[in-house]
């Protein structure tokens, strides 16, 4: 006989079990978390104070722009549903969609105006501010000569934004896809500027919000339910680990701890990775150029064009890309990386000569210039500390030896290296230029008057400047490419630099992740990632 006590107990027990069962059904299936080895600790998560890819990967997830990137890297509508560009190319009108910040406040055109004014403020000292100079008054504002509210940006109404440019600019839309142009929460920033990025508190417009930030350890972003397309997003949470040692990141990918590992295959491990990691290894061309900058100022040995040509002729770029790096880099005989959108054509004129012919011509040129075995050319070759830079420099120095060039290799840590370049205290210096926008402008502009490469290297060519400026204003892509090709050819005919190769991106992506695509800009928005069918 079951006592009354027992009956009650068993009833309670049943109720408890039922409750547990119900609770278990209410708990969602296992969350889709992506663990990412992200290379380095971000210097900031304020989208207007960052510039490195390891930073923009995160800020892009937190803040949406007017236009954004699709999984293949192309530009698609973001916070702006559609837009119009005037016929003269000087006025852009954006129509914003209905969207809200993660605290529920609506995202309005005022937030976009606020952000663009802020990015040009001298106190913010944004490093890419020059990409917004086409906007009316932008340059003067950035130099502190005018106040930010004179900027040629206005909110016609809550959902309409108008931007006026001083001249038509072919790549302007690209500049608006950068994180620097993300609309920012005016209602938050008007009160407190510093320290507005804190986990749990940050007001974001993007696919995710910031939920945890332990410096040097991990950054966790969780899905933002206020995002306008939240129901299309599979990823629940992404964790970014700032692992700066590539080997360590590779190890942790191999153990399965990391789902995605960016730039985690040192060149010395590449062949091994290709054999052992199979599909997880993702290699693709990158819009970035590796070259040696020449110092052309008067009085420099490299002011002589013949020497520059000889140095260019003697370098076997295929040895560098195939034997030393071996990751599929493309030997480069041009300046703007070939896979940049609307890249100019043309290359150095010896690409078809055999190596013997090239060496013969190179030696002849050196002799003409007055150098030979009894009168060697002493050159300094500067590079910043990295194993690959060293290997390449050693190889190039060996390739120049038969020409009677004696190279002093100078390895400096990054800060010193770039300071040396800036001060013009070099003869040959290693340089890598990465595109910030998917457009040749960034590269060509560097050698134009007042550009950083022009100042450091002493390259001044009025015709080149004119061509670059004209190409910027030209809105027809074909005509534009012709202009840029002519411009680049001037640079190459003058042998102003020594191009070595177009970069590739080398990443590791677990087969458990889908929706990650290789693209030249190397952007891989988290919102398109999905779990593979197991």
């Amino acid at each position: 006989m079951i006592s009354k006590h027992h009956k009650m107990m068993s009833r309670y027990l049943l109720a408890a079990l039922g409750g547990i069962a119900l609770g278990a059904m209410a708990v969602p299936a296992q969350a889709f978390t992506v663990d990412i080895a992200n290379g380095a600790e971000p210097g900031s998560l304020d989208p207007q104070k960052t510039s490195g890819v390891w930073e923009t990967r995160i800020t892009r997830a937190l803040f949406e722009r007017l236009v954004t990137y699709a999984a293949d890297g192309s530009l698609v509508p973001g916070l702006a549903e559609h837009w119009e560009i005037s016929d003269d190319g000087k006025q852009y009108t954006f129509h914003l969609r209905d969207a809200e910040w993660s605290d529920g406040e609506p995202i309005t055109a005022d937030d976009a105006v606020f952000a663009l004014r802020r990015v040009l403020e001298p106190a913010i000292a944004n490093q890419n501010a020059n990409l917004y100079y086409p906007i009316v008054n932008a340059r003067a504002i950035n130099a502190g000569e005018k106040s930010p509210d004179t900027l040629g940006v206005e909110a016609v109404d809550a959902h309409t934004l108008r931007i006026r440019l001083t001249q038509p600019t072919a790549w302007f839309l690209q500049a608006l896809a950068m994180t620097e142009a993300s609309p920012l929460p005016e209602h938050v920033l008007a009160n407190a500027d510093d320290g507005w990025i804190k986990p749990g508190d940050t007001v974001s417009s993007g696919v995710f919000t910031l939920s945890q930030w332990q410096p040097q350890s991990r950054i966790v972003v969780t899905r933002n339910p206020h995002y306008y397309d939240a129901d299309q997003v599979s990823v629940d949470e992404a964790v970014f680990y700032p692992i700066d040692d590539a080997n360590a990141a590779l190890n942790r990918f191999r153990t399965g701890e990391m789902d995605i590992a960016y730039s985690s295959v040192p060149s010395s491990r590449f062949a091994w990775a290709r054999e052992n990691l199979g599909d997880a290894l993702r290699v693709g061309p990158l819009t970035a150029e590796y070259f040696y900058m020449f110092n052309l100022h008067d009085g420099q040995p490299l002011a002589d064009r013949r020497v520059r040509e000889a140095l260019n002729l003697a370098v076997r770029r295929d040895v560098i890309t195939d034997q030393i790096l071996g990751q599929g880099q493309t030997p480069s005989f041009w300046y703007v990386p070939r896979n940049t959108a609307n890249a100019p054509r043309g290359d150095l004129d010896f690409a078809d000569m055999t190596m013997d012919e090239r060496m013969a011509r190179a030696k002849a040129l050196m002799q003409e210039a007055g150098y030979g075995p009894d009168h060697p050319l002493r050159l300094r070759l500067n590079y910043n500390t990295l194993e690959d830079h060293k290997k390449i420099a050693v190889a190039v120095a060996a390739m120049w030896k038969p020409l009677g060039v004696e190279v002093e290799l100078i390895n400096s840590e990054a800060a010193v290296h770039y300071a040396t370049i800036r001060e013009g205290n070099f003869e040959v210096a290693r340089y890598g230029m990465v595109a910030t926008i998917n457009d040749p402008f960034d590269f060509l502009n560097a050698y134009a008057d007042n550009g950083s490469a022009s100042q450091s290297s002493g390259y001044h060519d009025a015709d080149y400047d004119a061509l670059v400026a004209k190409s910027t204003r030209e809105l027809d892509p074909q005509k534009r490419r012709q202009l840029m090709t002519r411009a680049q050819q001037r640079l190459l005919d003058g042998y102003a630099l020594l191009p070595l190769y177009d970069y590739v991106s080398v990443h590791l992506v677990s087969p458990a992740i889908q929706g990650w695509e290789i693209n030249p800009m190397d952007v891989h928005p988290l919102r398109y990632l999905q779990e593979s069918e197991q």
């Binding site: 010193v416 770039y418 300071a419 007042n450 950083s452």
Partner: protein, 308 residues
């Protein structure tokens, strides 16, 4: 002793002030600044940056500005990690370095001291050679070789332990970094203890103790160990300060969020405020550790006095 300790603590203040001043000007002499990076900046933007961080002011002015803030306890924001203040970074990273370093030292003492003593007692025996041989690997193999080997073998190939990461200080994540870090210290401590014990065991007051008829155990444990510890202590003082402020190699290879990397990266990034923060922090530790060691000297050897 108490007065002596207080005097030493007071002297720490001018010591640190000198360290701060020298370091401040030392850092500025180095070529390159916080904003010399791959992306070369247009001149207007560079001017903006320098102004925003007061780097365009004359150096003495910057110094006074910095000292003014410092005396109020403000180390300033990091140049590189702009969303965090130096204080925040150090306060978050130090407990991590302390845990790893502290455990490594503890392990090194627990293993190294007895090994050194045993080797000294059984001098030139097989025990001695074996101990010294093992200790030698700790010296001959640099930790930037040991650490990746550990990570590869135990983390990836065998899968017994995580290949890296801190994971909030979970025990499995502690094992490899602590052991890798301690190996070198075990070697150092064992060697120095052995040499020191040999010296002491041959000294006259040990003979006296034996002559008095004390048994071997008492001789060793009550009379030999303490003076033998002296040179080991001298070495340990600054060594502990160095280890608990983190090993750059260990932190980098195992992905440990300590402050060790700030000492190196801070310099490479020309992150002036962060470097100063670490300098002050480390300086305080050095002063403390050397004081503790000096106090221990007189505890270990009553003949040592400081009041000449």
């Amino acid at each position: 002793m108490l007065i002596y300790t207080l005097k030493r603590l007071l002297q720490a203040i001018p010591t640190l002030l000198i360290v701060i001043t020298i370091s401040f000007f030392l850092m500025r002499v180095a070529p390159g600044g916080p904003f010399d990076g791959e992306r070369q900046l247009p001149p207007e933007i560079e001017a903006n940056l320098m102004a925003a961080y007061h780097l365009d002011e004359p150096l003495p002015m910057q110094y006074l500005r910095y000292m003014g803030n410092l005396l109020q306890g403000d180390f300033g924001p990091s140049f590189k990690y702009k969303d965090f203040s130096v204080t925040e970074l150090i306060m978050q990273g130090f407990p991590v370095s302390l845990e790893i370093g502290g455990l490594a030292i503890l392990l090194a003492l627990i293993v190294g001291l007895p090994l050194g003593i045993a080797a000294a007692l059984k001098r030139n025996s097989t025990v001695d050679y074996m101990v010294m041989g093992t200790a030698l690997t700790g010296i001959a193999v640099p930790n930037f070789v040991i650490a990746p080997i550990f990570a590869l073998v135990f983390g990836v190939l065998l899968g017994w332990l995580p290949a890296g990461g801190w994971n909030g200080g979970a025990l499995p994540n502690l094992v490899l970094p602590v052991v890798a870090l301690s190996i070198q210290q075990i070697a150092y401590i064992a060697r120095m203890m052995r040499a020191s014990m040999i010296e002491v065991l041959g000294s006259h007051f040990i003979r006296t103790a034996r002559a008095k008829g004390l048994n071997e155990g008492e001789v060793i444990w009550r009379h030999a160990i303490r003076p033998a510890l002296l040179p080991v202590m001298s070495y340990l003082g600054p060594a502990i300060a160095g280890i608990i402020t983190g090993s750059v190699v260990i932190e980098q290879i195992f992905g440990i969020p300590g402050i060790g990397r700030y000492f190196v990266q801070g310099a490479l990034n020309r992150d002036y405020t962060l470097v100063m923060g670490t300098v002050v922090f480390y300086g305080v530790l050095i002063v403390l550790m050397n004081l503790i060691v000096d106090l221990l000297y007189s505890a270990l050897d009553p003949q040592i006095r400081y009041d000449d």
